[in-house]
């Protein structure tokens, strides 16, 4: 038997022993019975969570100066303030952060690839501690480390996750057969699971639900294929399988099925794709690890393992790309102008590929379903932060502390002056689930059946049902949920064909976040398969798109009227029972200030006038010598007047500075919710 294999098996056996022990402890008299919470509703209630959170355990966060821990992340989710970097020389933090309202559920998702590596490098008792890469890592952690030192080791190690799958390897410091990092990674994973157990509220108050998890961070040739792995409970796999262990998604799913779903231990797991927007269009490519097109077995596995997708987070939205496929002026929301992981990290403007967006996936999924029998991309919707500072659910536009380094985004690429992070990033969103109670079984089941929606941050409540016989005045019923639930399916569901019916009817009911802007309107986005082509159309079903609401750019005060709640019943008049289709709702708030405008407002910058002197100073400090200050720079202030004069018809032909105007961030945004679609499949 090869040595590395024997080592790995030994480690797995050891891990199973260890995990078995923790299971036994957790079983001692503590059950997680469905229905144990004091507040239980069979018609389901709304819970808010974040399933994408990084702490000091993630290599990239760690390199960005994050020192906040798993415990800090749970404290933050409960509403307690936590310290944030940058730290002073004496180790005291320079900033604090607190969420405005506690979350109901969280899953920490530290990158699995370097869980063991960090422990090895920080633990002098580890044989790998003295390795050159560890020495460089520790040097880069020092307060006075140069940007070059930080960049050097960050790129050297992180680049391993961008290797071709067949070349994906643990770092050298992990020793022969990767033993040091495998063993250390097991230790950390066990602690992660144990910490999630300790933070999970098993009382009938059900205040906080936690899920063990991690992020599988494969990015072959810098194309993002990352997915978060979420376990239902403390019954987990022996190792947090990462890109180096399983460099293909189907390998990961096979491991998870074998060692969790099919193991008969009560283990259950799902994976949540994210940031398909920076995958250069390969996230939904019809190609398996062996280079062949999807098989029916593959699409079944993907459908089963990936019920939901993260549509929005710090690194942008993945719903749709402006100008792609169909006219939809609202596709421009938080679309970052980068095509892959490297261009995002290095701020190199490169156009994203429309094939990396959800609209494309939904269409392709229907086409594949027609030929293979299962839709591999039948995703429900979630949203998250992807915080790298242990701050789950920290989505406030008026208090954005940054994605990572918070003042030092990468510690080798300085942020725009006055901003905590790169202007294209944003505070991310939240996942909402409709579940009977705030406990693991109920929340996990809701994710499985896709009764979920994502928001860009505000906690607006949205319910959507589809049926065949809903009355047009259903919105007036005080028991509309009971009626809609009894006669149809909720978001995430699939409508059964009804031979006698003419067209499906959809009910969408929404209420604003009491701490945010009023609602403006509700839309239904319909996509359908017409022969071999897929189409998309957007319908306004409630509210007023032309209500004239806005925000004052100097004070960020909201202006104009909106709606506290909205409800609409809509029937698809063009429905063709022979065509596959999906329908999801998009709920929009009135316009409000984007975080960049909040920062400008707070700093009393004049965001409507170009500050030439500031630009020159910034250029002297760290911008390339060929950068010209003759143009607006959205990072230093929004010179809208100048940018409006730039001819953006072909940005590629413009000087770099003027091209930047074409990618100007918007001063205001329309916060929104995206529901999971309701699907229609014609009779076979």
């Amino acid at each position: 038997m090869p040595r590395f294999l024997s080592s790995a098996l030994w480690l797995i056996a050891l891990a199973m022993t260890v995990v078995g022990c923790s299971d036994a402890e957790s079983r001692s008299g503590i059950a997680d019975d469905f229905g144990r919470c004091a507040d239980f509703d069979p018609l389901r209630q709304l819970f808010w969570g974040d399933t994408h959170i990084h702490t000091e355990l993630s290599f990239d966060a760690n390199m960005q100066g994050t020192r906040t821990t798993v415990d800090d992340a749970y404290e933050f989710a409960r509403g307690e303030p936590i310290p944030l970097q940058p730290y002073n020389e004496d180790g005291t933090p320079t900033r604090m952060a607190a969420i405005d309202r506690p979350l109901d559920f969280v899953m920490l998702s530290d990158h699995a690839e370097f869980l063991g590596t960090l422990k090895v490098c920080n633990d002098p008792s580890s044989p790998g501690y003295g390795a050159r890469q560890c020495v460089d890592y520790r040097a880069a952690q020092q307060f006075d480390a140069s940007p070059q030192e930080v960049a050097g080791i960050f790129v050297e190690l992180n680049a391993l996750t961008a290797a071709e799958p067949q070349r994906a390897r643990y770092p050298e410091l992990c020793g022969p057969a990767d033993e040091y990092c495998l063993e250390a990674g097991m230790d950390v994973w066990r602690q992660v699971v144990s910490d999630a157990e300790a933070a999970y509220d098993r009382s009938d108050a059900c205040e906080l639900t936690t899920f063990p998890g991690y992020e599988w961070s494969g990015g072959p040739r810098l194309k993002n294929l990352h997915r978060n792995v979420m376990f239902k409970n403390e019954k987990v796999t022996a190792l947090p399988y990462n890109y180096f262990d399983e460099p293909y998604a189907e390998g990961l799913w096979a491991r998870l099925r074998e060692e969790c779903v099919d193991a008969g231990t009560g283990c259950d797991v799902l994976t949540i794709p994210h940031n398909s927007n920076i995958s250069e269009g390969i996230y939904f490519q019809n190609e398996m690890a062996n280079g062949e097109p999807f098989t029916s077995e593959y699409v079944e596995a993907r459908n089963a393992m990936e019920p939901v997708i993260e549509v929005y987070q710090h690194k942008g939205a993945s719903e749709c790309l402006p100008g792609a496929a169909t006219a939809d002026e609202l596709c421009g929301f938080e679309v970052i102008p980068f095509s892959n992981l490297a261009t995002t990290n290095l701020e190199l403007i490169t156009p994203p590929d429309p094939k990396g967006f959800l609209r494309h996936a939904y269409g392709e999924g229907m086409r594949l379903e027609a030929s293979l029998g299962t839709n591999p991309f039948q995703y429900g919707i979630t949203a998250a932060t992807d915080t790298h500072i242990s701050a789950p659910g920290f989505v406030a536009e008026n208090d954005f502390k940054g994605h990572g380094g918070a003042g030092q985004p990468n510690r080798f690429l300085p942020p725009p002056p006055g901003f905590p992070d790169v202007e294209y990033l944003s505070p991310g969103g939240l996942t909402a689930v409709w579940a009977e109670e705030n406990a693991r079984d109920a929340i996990f089941s809701a994710l499985r059946r896709k009764e979920t929606f994502g928001t860009s941050g505000p906690r607006m409540a949205v319910r959507m049902f589809g049926g065949w016989d809903y009355p047009s005045d259903l919105c007036n019923a005080s028991d509309l949920v009971a009626q809609a639930d009894a006669a149809g399916v909720p978001m995430g569901g699939t409508l059964e064909p009804q031979p006698a019916s003419s067209a499906p009817v959809f009910l969408v009911s929404a209420m604003q976040d009491s701490n945010s802007a009023p609602l403006q309107r509700i839309q239904i986005v319909k996509g359908w398969l017409d022969g071999d082509d897929y189409q998309v159309q957007v319908f306004e079903i409630a509210g007023d798109a032309n209500n004239g609401a806005s925000a004052d750019l100097d004070t960020c005060e909201l202006q104009g009227e909106g709606f506290g709640d909205l409800c609409g019943v809509w029937q698809d008049a063009d429905f063709d029972p022979g065509q596959r289709a999906y329908y999801y709702a998009r709920v929009l708030e009135n316009p409000s200030c984007r975080w960049t405008t909040w920062q400008c407002s707070a700093a009393e910058y004049d965001c409507t006038d170009w500050d030439y002197a500031a630009c020159v100073q910034r250029k002297q400090d760290f911008l390339p010598s060929d950068f010209t200050c003759d143009c607006c720079d959205p990072a230093a202030g929004l010179n809208q007047a100048f940018c409006a004069e730039v001819d953006c018809r072909d940005p590629g032909l413009l000087p770099e500075a003027e091209e930047r105007c074409c990618h100007q961030v918007e001063p205001t945004i329309q916060e929104r919710a995206w529901t999971s679609p309701i699907w229609y499949q014609p009779p076979s």
């Binding site: 008792s125 003295g130 300790a198 509220d201 009491s514 709640d565």
Partner: protein, 292 residues
């Protein structure tokens, strides 16, 4: 499970006994001289003293000569100094020891301090909290584990978006209808909102988060069994009738055992660290030398 045992037997076992060696047996500890900067503050001096004690303990236990990391690191140093040396690793290591390299190398120093600090905070089996201790911890720190009280109430809602100018008149009419209801449930009355239930149980915090402070206060102040309202929110007007209240409580240990244990272990680690450090600090005879 295994790693702590390895730590205990191979790394920290001897240091753990510092308390009994130096405190219970009243054995006088070593004398050491700690050099600090002439302008060092009291805090700087104390830090230097503690590090010197831990380093001395590590050296007293021979970790500077037996530790595998120190071994590897010193060999690497020697290979750097003598790149052409034909000697094997052991010979190089012995020469490094003869040169007293381990006493001055910053990596060795960090390694020894790390091991000593790990040993200080290790919780031995006899200090692991028993069920009785956890129960006591739960009882004496109820504020850490308390769950917020809940209110069970009925609610009727009138939507501002839906009723617009008629909202105030509709509210007056609704108040009269509710007053006439008696103990009957308000079935079919009012408008719907996503998540709004005719009867629900909630904490004041949840109500504030969902509907705003005004409604949370109104529910908190409501007399049980009587309709109250209308109360305004960003959504419209609300009428509430409190059915019952459940006070704040601390869940039993069977339910929050993991939470209590984690909390108590954090304390114990700090306790044993302080105990062991204090015992060492008391036993050692320290001379401070200030140097420019």
């Amino acid at each position: 499970m295994l790693r702590p045992l390895v730590h205990f037997f191979l790394i920290g076992g001897l240091l753990f006994s510092a308390k009994s060696v130096y405190e219970k047996s009243r054995i006088e500890g070593p004398a050491i001289t700690v050099r600090v900067a002439v302008d060092a503050t009291d805090a700087n001096v104390e830090t230097a003293v503690r590090e010197a004690i831990l380093l001395n303990e590590a050296q007293r236990l021979g970790w500077d000569r037996t530790d595998p990391i120190v071994y590897t690191h010193l060999i690497r140093n020697m290979r750097f100094i003598e790149p052409d040396s034909p000697d094997d690793d052991l010979a190089l290591f012995q020469r490094a020891i003869e040169m007293n390299m381990q006493a001055h190398d910053p990596v060795v120093r960090a390694r020894l301090l790390y091991r000593a600090r790990e040993a200080l905070t290790f919780v031995p089996e006899d200090r692991m909290p028993s069920r009785a201790e956890l129960e006591e911890h739960r009882r004496t720190h109820e504020d850490r584990f308390e769950r917020e009280g809940r209110v069970r109430f009925q609610q009727v809602f009138l939507s501002r978006s839906k009723r617009r100018e008629a909202l105030a008149a509709d509210a007056r009419e609704m108040r009269e209808r509710l007053a006439a209801l008696g103990d009957s449930a308000p079935a079919g009355l009012g408008d719907s909102l996503p998540g709004l239930r005719p009867e629900q149980s909630a904490t004041p915090s949840e109500l504030k988060d969902d509907y705003g402070a005004e409604l949370a206060v109104a529910v908190g102040e409501a007399v049980v069994g009587a309709w109250r309202g209308p109360v305004s929110s960003v959504y419209g007007l609300h009428f509430v009738k409190v059915i019952g209240t459940e006070p704040a409580y601390v869940p039993p240990l069977d339910v929050i055992g993991a939470e209590v244990r984690a909390d108590r272990l954090r304390e114990i680690r700090e306790e044993v660290r302080q105990e062991r450090m204090a015992a060492l600090r008391e036993a050692y005879r320290i001379t401070i030398e200030r140097a420019p």
